[in-house]
Amino acid sequence: MTAQNPARANGAHGQAWWERRAEDVERLISRYPKSRSALMGLLWMAQEERGWVAPEDMEYIAQRLGISRAYVESTCSFYSLYHRKPVGRYVITVCGNIMCGLSGAEALIRHFEQRLGIKLGETTADGLFTLLVTGECVAACDGAPAVQINEEYFHKVTPERADQIVQALRDGADLVELSERIGLIQPGAVWEAGESA
């Protein structure tokens, strides 16, 4: 088989993502009264395709929207979820805000470091995992300590669950499916007096 792999971001044989996804690009831009508003969406698209936002992505976006490259960079650098350097396939971000901090986020980070053999901010040699901490509360304080992996939620991450998640991803689990299956706590049915307590 000599068929090209269309999933390859900018591979030797592949087209650039913005060519392959030209329709998505146009649809995104058409949603806004002014095209510049599509800038963040295009940065997201670049990150989806490549795993991070590369200089050539910014160059393309600047050209497509008719704005300067410096403007694109300035916007991109304002937001912490855009990676401007290559990262692992799975970016594990531990919530380090107050409630997760009080519930063992520090120990969880140490555990991930040990388990993955990397320090905070680093990527494993196989390119699979990057470990980060965020100062922002990720709105899962009832499931502290909380972790996001590529923005998918994992609540109440004990060291055992951390191992389970890492192993599942190494074994090729689908991230979204994994989050749905073991990551989330369903909202407890909202309490009515007399029910318990």
Binding site: M40, L43, L81, C100, E106, D142, V190, W191, A197
Partner: protein
């Protein structure tokens, strides 16, 4: 006493992300009712009469805000603030992930009332699942004729654009949100002009929180009088309280505004075994502490304010005897310093300076003079900046300096931390 669930009805029992399940419990009836029998002014009047106060933090009446839009023929925009990033707050996320059609219907009704040309949902980048759920809900609504061109065969058309943020607390501030929606850095803008006059692309714009908009379908369906019968006279309706920390059942609890702090803690399963109540923040990182003697305090906008705090986002954080208030203050100082957008000197320098002083004190290297400096921050950091982040960054600190002075002194004089078993708090 049993409380009726309103916004959270069906959550955890049926899959409300499916439009037919939402319709089966009365969903989209309010939209039908409004489009078939009410003018935009009627819808607006009903919301105004209901005195629906903004759930995003400030409690400003939505009906009044909608009335500020100038009637000058320029296109108007509606923005739903789904940036929910206030520490301790997770109620918007639940509404989005588990009841997305309620939000879609609320936005459509609000857009009809204010005659918006287009609506936007600004959703924080961390809510990737929420984004998927909303995109799906919008397409389901379109297929049923609730959204798009000539909705339900009427002259009313509306599109909802979901815009993903990418990690910046300040984009929750309404003008920071607008800067971000325009494709720029999420830097707040001076007010006035307020967004109602010059908002998105300089056009008249309404910004409302997710939970605020989720109340609108019920107000239209059941009427303002019904809404006014719930909660307190000045804070009508229910509120979804996000409770976290030292309770047995952290989670979201929808209760009438005016429920007491004690009742809420009981609903959340009471304090954890072995926990003694030390302090509660009723509304996010900036809310001044409430104390164990506040258990009878009604949690509504005005009562909490009279007690010296703010209801804010109703992100209720419960601290027990193992939480060190000095470390907590340091944590928040680092957080605000990190999240300051840097445009205003008092905020950029003040938050960094506050964090430095608190770090010094926490390590046992502080002096009594440092405490005096911290106490004087209000003069330099409040009312001097573009947005309220600067003001908000020191309100919790001022409250603990007052109520937990002994903890600060203990740290300064190098004695052990007064928390019983001080828990680790990460530094931002």
């Amino acid at each position: 006493m049993t409380y009726e669930k309103v916004l959270t009805k069906g959550i955890g029992e049926v899959d409300l992300t499916r439009i037919e399940n939402y319709e089966a419990q009365g969903g989209y009836q309010a939209l039908r009712k409004a489009l078939k029998g009410m003018t935009p002014a009627d819808v607006h009047a009903e919301v105004k009469k209901a005195n629906l106060r903004g759930r995003g933090g400030a409690g400003f009446p939505a009906g009044l805000k909608w009335g500020f839009l100038p009637d000058d023929g320029r296109p108007r925009y509606l923005c739903c603030n789904a940036d929910e990033s206030e520490p301790g707050t997770f109620n918007n996320r639940m509404l989005i992930e588990y009841n997305p059609h309620l939000l879609v219907e609320g936005i459509l009704l609000a857009a009809y009332a204010v005659r918006a040309a287009r609506s936007f949902i600004y959703i924080r980048g961390e809510f990737r699942k929420g984004y998927r759920v909303l995109m799906d809900a919008i397409e389901q609504a379109r297929a049923k004729g609730y959204l798009g061109d000539r909705i339900l065969g009427t002259d009313f058309s509306q599109e909802i654009v979901v815009h993903r943020g990418a990690g910046a607390y300040i984009c929750g501030e309404e003008t920071g949100l607008l800067s971000s929606l325009e494709g720029g850095r999420g830097e707040p803008r001076n007010k006035p002009p307020f967004p109602a006059v010059a908002g998105l692309y300089g056009m008249p714009t309404v910004v409302n929180n997710v939970e605020t908009l989720c109340n609108v379908p019920f107000i239209i369906d059941r009427g303002a009088d019904w809404f006014l019968s719930i909660g307190t006279e000045k804070s009508p309706g229910t509120k979804i309280f996000s409770v976290s920390g030292a309770v047995n059942r952290p989670g979201n609890y929808e209760l009438p505004l005016g429920v007491t702090l004690g009742e809420l803690l009981e609903v959340a399963g009471g304090l954890k075994p072995g926990s003694k109540l030390k302090a509660v923040q009723p509304g996010g990182a900036s809310s001044p502490v409430l104390l164990p003697n506040n258990l009878d305090l009604p949690l509504d906008f005005d009562s909490v304010q009279q007690a010296g705090s703010i209801l804010g986002t109703a992100g209720v954080m419960v601290f027990d005897q193992n939480v060190c208030m000095v470390r907590t203050a340091l944590y928040y100082a680092d957080f605000f310093s990190h999240e300051s957008c840097g445009q205003c000197t008092p905020c950029r320098e003040g938050t960094a300076w506050t964090a430095r002083l608190l770090r010094k004190i926490e390590r046992g290297e502080g002096t009594p003079a440092d405490i005096e400096v911290l106490k004087s921050l209000r003069g330099t950091m409040s009312g001097t900046t573009i947005c309220l982040l600067s003001d908000f960054s020191i309100t919790f600190l001022q409250s603990v300096l007052k109520h937990f002075a002994d903890e600060f002194e203990a740290h300064i004089h190098g004695r052990a931390c007064l928390a019983e078993r001080p828990r680790e708090v990460l530094s931002a």
